[in-house]
Symmetry: C2
Subunit: 324 residues, 2 copies
């Protein structure tokens, strides 16, 4: 059997759940698995090993690609930068541990980078482009940059932290990273909720059903009320679109990408027509006339597909020996 | 004589002057020339041809590299995007015209990109880096990005327009590009002056010597007053540093560069210690701990050196035939 035709196992390690699936031919094959993310690095590694063993028992696999939150050195496979979603994860030599325990080739990648790579691998229309930027709109914002088909990671592997570009100088909102006015503090799910609270200031319970929910307001409340035609909720959503747009405008002028691909849980609520108009209004005509913003075709699988593709790429190039 | 050892002529075409010099061994050789930029595309081309003829008469040259404001397609050598500084320049097929008239190989490049490439070519400490970003602080702001030793131009050659990233959502300052709150509207020379005017609001003539100059205020006034210890002028300069820093912060999180190199007329007035501290305060520790911000070693020659180096590179690779 040709080793290069074997699938790889892709794993997406998030703050709340771990998703895993076999990836072959740029797509998920077979049943994906999901388990809740346990607390603490030791427990997480245990859960990862269990998942890998499960797949290994049933399939021949080329290797394991792991997409994780945080700043990752993909050469050593170490998590070199912290993340609020996975406390204590910084400093974990993930590749080394998993390779030693499983005798499989392992590639570890920042989740935003992995999602971007997965998106490009799996999308025929994203081939042979100069620059593809994926923006993951979830609890936070991740940015993945693919230049000439390769992941752009920056000088210290931190380019995926594009959610922390600064979109205001007013010091109005503190980000979970403790900096002020990061894009993520406005354009993420957390950002929409903060916008909701702000816009409820001075609104009385009889003026809006959202005001009645003030203490327990969720994005679901805002989205449902907007759908039901409540004007205040629609304004909140519009404001959120404006916040997403303002970050994209900076990315446009600095990177001048071919396409933006939006992914992540919050991307489902994007009105693409509205967003494109808002970005175009704030961008040089020479750039905005080429502007393309599309939803992801892969949705939540992008990260694990990208991680799996990266380990397959390494195996094909043979640039790093499997330790087994 | 080995053709590859011949110098190239580098030309930097700015809104107010045209500078030209021979470039060989990554440095300017012989006397540079400067002429004022005439009005209108025809007159500019005439001036360029005159300059080239002058050098051609006295030297054997490999080709001509031209750095110009505006968005440039370096493959066709056409100015594809407008610039306020050179009215009517958009649409000029500059490479084609100059090659036809001079029978020399010509490379045309956006000035910010050329400056970045010149900086990297001429600086031994900038070799073999992942990402070098040069920021030209002049009347406006230009951004040049070098990734793995090559100019990063974006999908539509507009990556050099990084001065138009958005650093505020308040719609407080209109940029010369007609967009609101571009970095350039705050962090450039024009931005410092606007900050000066803003901070003079409500200040009476007896409170500040700058208030007396209100109608005719220049950056020179602000810089001199700050040097003489006037607190208000020092606050203006500090505020300008903050504005420069806020743009750099976005570049840090998105590109994670090895080094920022500052160039352009306004870069002479940067307090590097203050600027580094301001950027570090607003950047994720994982990125700020590696932060390097340096002044250019080439100053105003970076653009013409870069343009000349780019035509030498093309000649060496032989990837585009000389039309002669």
């Amino acid at each position: 059997m040709d080793k290069q035709q074997l699938p790889a196992l892709g794993i997406d390690l998030g703050g709340t759940k771990i998703a895993a699936a076999l990836v072959q031919g740029h797509t998920v094959v077979g049943e994906p698995w999901r388990v809740p993310t346990p607390q603490g690095p030791d427990k997480i590694i245990e859960a990862l090993l269990e998942l890998i063993e499960k797949f290994k028992k049933e399939h021949l696999i080329m290797g394991v690609g792991i997409a994780t939150a945080g700043i990752v050195n993909p050469e050593t496979g170490e998590v070199v930068g912290s993340t609020g979603n996975l406390p204590g994860w910084e400093g974990t030599p993930l590749k080394k541990i998993i390779e030693a325990k499983t005798a499989l080739r392992v590639h570890v990648e920042n989740d935003a980078n992995a999602a971007a790579y997965g998106e490009v691998c799996a999308s025929p229309h994203l081939q042979n482009k100069t620059c593809i930027v994926t923006v993951t709109l979830g609890t936070g914002i991740g940015v993945g940059i693919i230049i000439d088909g390769d992941v752009y990671r920056g000088a210290h592997f931190a380019a995926g932290e594009g959610g922390h570009i600064k979109i205001s100088m007013e010091n109005r909102r503190r980000c979970t990273c403790e900096l002020w006015d990061c894009w993520e503090a406005y354009g993420s799910g957390r950002g929409l909720l903060a916008t909701g609270w702000e816009m409820l200031e001075g609104v009385t319970d009889d003026q809006s059903r959202l005001a009645q929910r003030r203490a327990h307001l969720t994005n679901q409340d805002i989205l449902e009320a907007a759908k039901d035609g409540e004007v205040l909720a629609q304004r909140m959503l519009e404001k959120w679109h404006e916040h997403v747009a303002c970050g994209l405008v900076s990315l446009c002028h600095l990177l001048d990408p071919d396409v933006f691909v939006l992914t992540g849980g919050m991307s489902k609520f994007v009105d693409y027509k509205m967003l494109r108009d808002m970005v175009a209004d704030r961008t040089l005509p020479r750039i905005s006339k080429f502007l393309e913003i599309h939803p992801s075709l892969l949705s939540e699988a992008a990260g694990l597909i990208g991680a799996a593709e990266l380990v397959l790429l390494e195996a094909t190039r043979g640039d790093k020996p499997v330790r087994a």
